[in-house]
């Protein structure tokens, strides 16, 4: 052709007549997937090590029959129940009070923010075991709990092991939750607050409806961590004779001299509790992730299926090649 601007002849369709014959490369790609030999080899190595570990414990001087018998024993089940109870109650106190402290800490009111700062300073700065003992022994310095007309009783009637543990763990947790909530609130773009204000929303409503729901995405993972920590930290309440899981394990050991067996049983109970909570946390995170990306993260089952299939097919998303 001599003229580069020459028009395509009129009898040829504008797309160059490609429709006339079937297009090249139609239909989905069928490629041979990448083989992950590394994954196979490492899986075999890990399974081998696991087998060795199991054999070592099977041959050790552990009366596995005792473990098997005691795992369903009522005393441990009740201990687990007490652990769960103190954990949930303490976390409720911690989360609610922590959220309030976080809002106070960020408030322009200097009185509120100083009070919150002082609270966090005190409760983060002393060991929780000491706080448990301080609450439990409060009757040594205050004989009566006196709330004026409302309530008056002897302190050591009120300050049962449960109440002392609850106060110590809950108030201590609030200090940590306050910092977690503060980070979450500060992670929300200030444009969100402005948009809410521009629509005529007031401060409190903006916090509850707009900021906190978005802060949850940042708050929940460390809160789940705190929850699981609390399941275990609550064992410190054994020091004031609160009958939670750890105390029961210890008592079982000294009563029957099956010391390791007792600790193994309570370890299995702790593992069971944390597993259940991890699953709950996962679904909570999924709920608050809505709107943060174009599609929701997969459920564990979907993920498992994907991971298994990754042994065969190259997965570029999130999979670490081994």
């Amino acid at each position: 052709m001599t003229d580069p601007l020459d028009k395509v002849p009129a009898d040829v369709p504008p797309d160059g007549g490609r429709d006339a014959s079937p297009r090249k490369y139609s239909g989905p790609i069928k490629a041979v997937p990448v083989r992950h030999y590394g994954r196979w080899i490492s899986a075999v190595v890990v399974l081998g090590l696991l087998a060795l570990l199991v054999r070592a414990f099977a041959d050790a001087q552990i009366q596995w029959s005792v473990v098997g018998d005691q795992i369903t024993n009522g005393t441990f089940a009740w201990g687990a129940w007490e652990t769960l109870k103190i954990t949930v109650y303490s976390m409720v106190i911690g989360v609610v009070l922590g959220a309030i402290l976080a809002v106070m800490r960020l408030s322009p009111n200097p009185v509120l923010s100083s009070v919150a700062w002082g609270y966090i300073w005190f409760f983060r700065g002393t060991p929780v075991l000491v706080q448990i003992l301080l609450w439990f022994n409060l009757s040594l310095v205050f004989q009566y709990l006196d709330l004026g007309f409302i309530y008056r009783d002897e302190m050591n009637q009120v300050m049962t092991p449960f109440v002392a543990a609850l106060l110590a763990l809950g108030l201590n947790e609030a200090a940590y939750m306050a910092e977690i909530c503060r980070a979450g609130i500060q992670s929300v773009d200030s444009g969100q607050t402005e948009a809410a204000h521009a629509l005529g929303m007031k401060g409190g409503k903006t916090m509850r409806r707009i900021v906190l729901p978005q802060a949850m995405r940042v708050i929940i993972p460390p809160t789940g961590n705190e929850f699981i920590n609390m399941l275990k930290t609550s064992s410190l309440a054994f020091a004031i004779g609160y009958g939670e899981l750890f105390l029961r394990g210890r008592e079982f050991g000294s009563r029957t001299l099956a010391i390791m067996e007792g600790y193994i049983v309570i370890s299995l109970w702790y593992l069971a509790l944390t597993t259940v909570f991890s699953i709950g946390q996962y679904y909570l995170e999924r709920y608050y992730a809505r709107g943060s990306s174009r599609s929701l993260p997969p459920t564990p089952l979907q993920r498992l299926r994907k991971q298994l299939s990754s042994f065969r097919v190259q997965s570029n998303v999130g999979g670490v090649k081994v």
Binding site: E194, A196, A198, G200, R209, Q214, G291, R294
Partner: protein, 258 residues
Amino acid sequence: MSSQSTQPMVKAENVHKSFGHLKVLKGIDLEVAHREVFCLVGPSGSGKSTFLRCINHLEQINGGRLSVDGRLVGYREKGDKLYELKEKEVAAQRRDIGMVFQRFNLFPHMTALTNVMEAPVQVKGESKSVARERALKLLDRVGLADKAKNYPTQLSGGQQQRVAIARALAMEPKLMLFDEPTSALDPELVGEVLDVMRGLAEDGMTMIVVTHEMGFAREVGDALVFMDDGVVVEAGHPRDVLGNPQHERTKSFLSKVL
């Protein structure tokens, strides 16, 4: 009560605003009439956004008087003293003023529909069914009836900005503020947002529009102000200011953006 014939919608008299030592607005005087489309142009940092934010009290002015529909913004005047309004009263003033942001600022944890429903339900205490009805109508008006169930991340920039306009309209404002509503958008998405704004203007909405879209200003605007360095340099009909600028600063600015 205000009456349309006598009272301008927005009246600024010698408005000053500084951030610490930085003087951003240095005596702004202007009036926006009812049903007028008022365009605000000027170089970056000249104080356009700051002025717009003063109108709905996202920023507090330091000097002068600023009133919307005959009422001072953020203050009550009693005798010769000014009293700051309480949070509740400020919020009540803002209800009547819609604002559209450069970066959309949609609520990401809510769908397009619930974004639009949120303020009527939470601020006006409207029932959900009434709010939903109106939200669906507004989404339809901005051409997004089929996107009601989508979250903001699932929408294009132009679609997000149109939802943001619907969200502001849901409060049935008497004044709409637009802060560079199209400058975060890809060029091919600008048109769909301007179309919605043009429709609003035709329906008689009073609008103050900060924009770099001179075509829109010329075609839709009733008045245009050129701001530079915290002062109004030139004001008039967009046709005149854009077509025949009088000041050197206006000329040099326009030569860069046109």
